[in-house]
Subunit: 388 residues, 2 copies
Amino acid sequence: MLNGDDALDTQASVRRANLRRALQLVFRAPGAQTRAGIARGTGLTAATASSLVAELIELRLIVDGEQAASTGGKRATTLSIDADHHLIVVIVIRPTDARIALVALDGTEVETHRVTYTEKTRDRMLDEAVADLAREHAGRLLVAGVQLPGTTDGRRVFESVQLDWTDVPLADRFERLLAVPVLLVNDVDAEAIAEAAREDESAGYRLFIHIGTGIGAAVTLDGELAPGPRDRAGEIGHVQVVFSDDARTCRCGRVGCLESVASMTAMLGDDFDDALDDAAIAGLAAAADQAGLADGARALARTIKLIAAVLDAAEVVIGGPARALGAPFLELVQAEIDYTATGTTRVPVRFADAGASISTGVAQVALSSALGVRWSPAQLRAASALRD
Amino acid sequence: MLNGDDALDTQASVRRANLRRALQLVFRAPGAQTRAGIARGTGLTAATASSLVAELIELRLIVDGEQAASTGGKRATTLSIDADHHLIVVIVIRPTDARIALVALDGTEVETHRVTYTEKTRDRMLDEAVADLAREHAGRLLVAGVQLPGTTDGRRVFESVQLDWTDVPLADRFERLLAVPVLLVNDVDAEAIAEAAREDESAGYRLFIHIGTGIGAAVTLDGELAPGPRDRAGEIGHVQVVFSDDARTCRCGRVGCLESVASMTAMLGDDFDDALDDAAIAGLAAAADQAGLADGARALARTIKLIAAVLDAAEVVIGGPARALGAPFLELVQAEIDYTATGTTRVPVRFADAGASISTGVAQVALSSALGVRWSPAQLRAASALRD
DNA sequence: GAACTAAGTTTATTGAATAAACTATGACCG
DNA sequence: CGGTCATAGTTTATTCAATAAACTTAGTTC
């Protein structure tokens, strides 16, 4: 439909780009945008804005809404997202189960299925579930986003230890079943995007670090995943960061890895599990060796400082189960960062917002890839309210 | 002329973008490109390609060259860069002197001046030299690139310790004198670009690290400076990387900075100076404490590993006086990187190519900013042959 | 030398945006 | 309360860039 690359050679690509820009403006302020606002926001004329809106309505991507209050002249017709037609398929694949959700264009989850499987039945179960979806909702599916733990270029899964997959052309497989574009997304990347999209002004680089049993990083630029081939980016868990003689041996066999000191397992002990709820984690944290937590925070801070300095990052966000460690942990990290920071190099660290649904992140990437559109913070809140 | 942003809203911007693409193709293969080649390379029709070429010739950016050999039909007319009209102004500002060069569109240096000054006379001397240039070459100047040590957004110098400047609107000042667009570029960034542009296939992220009395980094993506606000990026010299008790105190007053172990001064002693030639540096290196060199290499490698992992960098390039340390140093760095690297995370390290003229880097950025064009490796070689 | 092939130009057409005139609707104000 | 102004949005004629298709030029191949 509107997907494809921006070849930028002909008028058609200009039209497509302008349709995207108009759609983007509606998505950023749904129910509050108007034709005149689009004209102002794009720099195009009112006539062109009207024409773009007409086409977007015909494509069933937006709808006319209520009349806005007058601002001194004729009242404007507001524009909203058409949530009644197109659906985004979100597939979250984990080792023993998957969640398949249908998300409307306004970010609300319409339907959710859970598929459980073993390693042996996984492929078959997934294919069946996806095929069922395609049959039930034929013609209404717009795009699909697949979140999984592992390295990917969006088309193939290069390597997933947790799923025991190597070089699997999963996007092709699902595209044949769904007949819509499929995009594979690394789980940490998806988390980072869900988080970055919440900011209205997501200027500059943001470093996102997921901390659970493992550690992964993702970099976003202006609210979107940093460009370039990100196939294997963010794999910082097993980079050596501790060099003293008492550095621990990591589960990967090497010594002094970031994960060996700063993962949740390293800091809270083997009782930790990614599935624990926040209260349980807080309990473990209270009982844990505080020196271990401090060591983890310090190693993390040192890692962050270096990366933030190279990128001139505006902010660092810590996500995953580590969020449950609360303010004290954050303060340890920030203190270590500030310890040797000059005025301009001090980078603020915060936890990811609990409200950001992870599936929203995948949907976000998929939507952005298909229509070049990002959701507004308000919609992300609506989406996450429906979750679970 | 062709500068300005790519608003992508109207036909005019498509035309501008296509002119840039056509010009880019000629720059990539000067003397070997043809109208038909541009049509193939852009996906546009032959008629459009001809029209674009006609406009570029009228703009005096390219010229018709010789007839190529036939490939089975009519012989093609080759296209070359018009080196006889437009000039790029390159200004390299250092604490006590500046080099002002005029570079033709094909990368050859036409003219070079050296201006020496004291801190007191610097502003006046620079302004006078620039004003002279504007008077002598009125109408032929296309764009100006200004390279300086310090943080900048391209328009203002935020902070330059070495020049003792804080928040100086230098681009505006020079633009008033030159009447062409002026772009300020950090010196390490310029070095990184000169280097990255030499690669024909500069895919992915490249980490460039300048090592002299100080240490600075720059990240390029596909041969161009990584996007985003890079105002203060790359300032890694004073991030703490040594945490042992015997960490040295840095000249900045803090402890364990990268510069305190891996700068040339740290590794070779206070006899080192940025102005030394390669032989002198090699002499210092031979006489220096080898343990210090090893410490520096190790600290550097640890830094590199982390950053390369986050970005999934394709390559790391070390530039500046450290090049004179030669293969042994490089091997130390690479060995430490490989020590804990898995198959996919191992990033190759090499020295910057000695032939890449630094002023070519600035000219490159300026040209790219004005015309969206990058030089081919062949031209960079030609340019550097003329240097000094 | 006839057929073919590639390079490049000419001409009519298409599509997207624009400018300018116009309609619609409400606010403001004496 | 009616005139004036401001804002929203549409209609129509025009402009501009790219395209398709026919055509010219100039070579190779058999």
